[in-house]
Amino acid sequence: MNKPRISVGLGSCGMAAGANAVYRRLETILMEGKAEFELKRTSCLGMCYNEPLVAVLDERGEFLYGKIHEESAGKLIEEHILKGNTLKGHLVSGKDVFFGSQVKIALRNCGVIDPESIDEYIDTGGYEATRRIIREKISGAELTGIITRSGLRGRGGGGFSTGKKWEFARNINSDEKYLICNADEGDPGAFMDRSLLEGDPHAVIEGIIIAGLAIGANKGYVYVRAEYPLAVRRLKKAIKQAEEKGFLGKGVFQSRKDFKVEVFLGAGAFVCGEETALIHSIEGARGMPRHRPPFPAQSGLWGRPTVVNNVETLANVAWIIRNGADKYAAYGTENSKGTKVFALAGKVRRGGLVEVPMGVTINEIVFGIGGGIPEGREFKAVQLGGPSGGCLPASLAGTPIDFDSLRKTGAIMGSGGMIVMDETSCMVNIAKYFLEFTREESCGACTPCRLGTKHMLDILEDITEGRARKEDLDTLTDLAEGIKRTSLCGLGQTAPNPVITTLEYFRREYWEHISEKKCRAKQCRKLISYFIDPDKCAGCRVCYKKCPENAISGDKDKVHVISQDDCTRCGICIRACPRKYSAINCLPGQA
């Protein structure tokens, strides 16, 4: 074996945690000639809770080190490379637990290869599938057949059969067809598409080429959020590399087929994740959805047949062609084949990007991979699918993750955001949070969504501020059902889901807000109160000085009192009270 190889995970989240400084430090060490090793950049391994991550590969094996910062980088070289030990305290021992039950298909190369090197992608078998399609003249019908048989369903949230979608577009005669990769990842709490584009852009490009060949398209677009600068940069670089190799452009892989891919930067509108809205956006208009049919597969971009596929969907395609539909379909459940990537975050010990076979339970992800809830708190709920999804209580966490089981609970698979909540999260507040989001992002094209979400939000605000009456819950339910049934596009049709599911599973909490004027999670300000414990207060005046409302009275060395009329429940006093006294309590309910 040659020199040890050190790779630094340089995805957005790694960089945010300081990976760039680590890389530069290692570069300096290398230049100064203090140690010999090969330095390499990779992207996100998905182990966000341990960022920045550094992997060392030498004759002793592969070692993964977490939470390596600028200073510990020097120590790592000294201990591991020069002395032949390992760097204690940083070695990731939870590696098996975190990765144990994961199956990486879409994320197969993320965090492993250098995303800016097309040769590394090729070395892993990349572009082999496309080359074979061209060489063996595999027809579009055969390709769509393979994808249909694999059971791959759209990973953006819709869950429609990818093969069938291709089939519709393939069967229509047109001199121009388009393939659009939807990378307008707007769900708060979801970052799988960003990670894929940052970590393995060529897998997505190869998916686009294969999909293009299957439907007979000659042009592809990647519609990507402008808020993802690193993903955009790596994607553009990858497209350029693929063009230089002759994989894209005129006569791909020396065939007579032309295929170009262009990047289009989304300008920030959540509704553009809806395919007809996205198409309008590329055409230079306001991103508003329209009635379907006609479906984009019949009449899409510039009125031509267009297939819109999500990033993760496309990242699976080349793998399926190379390994066969059966191998993909061997993972998963009867109607949900393969794997799904989830962005695990919130109140969980090991948050990150995980890929699991369909059919594993929420519990297995939260506790098995995620390591459970930190600080000994209780697992309360999990939010799936972002603003279009729902909150499932801990009691339903045995639900297997597949399209149909989740739909039965009222939540949806969605794009794959999975936010874990403990008892400090208020479910009414979460419902309100998502309604604020959808109200803001509603494009205004149809009345149920434009006015309905606003009306629902008003009621939720009343509930969280103690003004609601019990009839309001019925109005909320009626509105939710109506908006779901009558909205024009997916945004409106799914916007009530967070409310419907929390009403179903956490009705008691709504009820407490309304009748007892109490927020048990202590999140809704109008429904909590702060008190000073007279037995503990030392009269130190710290809270008195910090209170911005002058709501605290009391002389030095005397017990202080909070005036409930003046208090705005900002919580500054509870943070200000010296730990040795801890005299201030926050209680659910109005004083």
Partner: protein, 166 residues
């Protein structure tokens, strides 16, 4: 920040328009380039864009106002984006916005009087394991609380103060 005068806008726009064919469907990339150049979309520039793309001014403004990326007044020297994604929300991102509002004496979406800071709420930066977090320009600061967030702002304004004194 001073607003550029019309003649100057026109000159800078010519450089931008050269990269485009002048077709209506190029509107969004054209607006993005204009914003990249000026830091916002000056009204005059939108009028020129309408003429260049041969579409009504109302269409240009209609599209520009639809997308959250576009702004119609100059932003501060530093843009502070407070992430309000779900993970940040459950980690009390609201308190961070509140604290920064008091610290900068502005409301969410506004620019401070000294022109140094613009405060914005964004849906999700996608670094959920660092929640709650803010992004100042391109730098992410994670695992914050209101006090730490305010300290970052204070540090930045101090460096500007020092520069002015020199």
């Amino acid at each position: 920040m001073s607003m550029p005068v019309n003649s100057e806008i026109k000159e800078r726009l010519n450089g931008i328009f050269n990269a485009f064919a002048g077709k209506g469907n190029e509107l969004i990339p054209v607006l993005q380039s204009i914003q990249e150049e000026f830091g916002y979309l000056p009204g005059e520039a939108m009028k020129h864009a309408a003429r260049f793309l041969k579409i009504p001014e109302s269409t240009v403004f209609g599209v520009a106002s639809f997308y959250s990326q576009f702004r119609f007044s100059p932003a501060g020297k530093h843009i502070i984006k407070v992430c309000h994604g779900t993970a940040c929300h459950v980690a009390n991102a609201g308190e961070i916005t509140e604290k920064l509002e008091t610290r900068l004496k502005i409301k969410d979406g506004e620019t401070s009087d000294d022109g140094l800071f613009t405060l914005e709420s964004v849906a999700c930066v996608g670094c959920c394991s660092l929640a709650p977090l803010i992004m100042v320009d391109d730098e992410v600061y994670g695992k914050l609380d209101p006090v730490k967030a305010a300290r970052i702002v204070s540090r930045l304004s101090r460096t500007h103060g020092e520069k002015q004194e020199q």
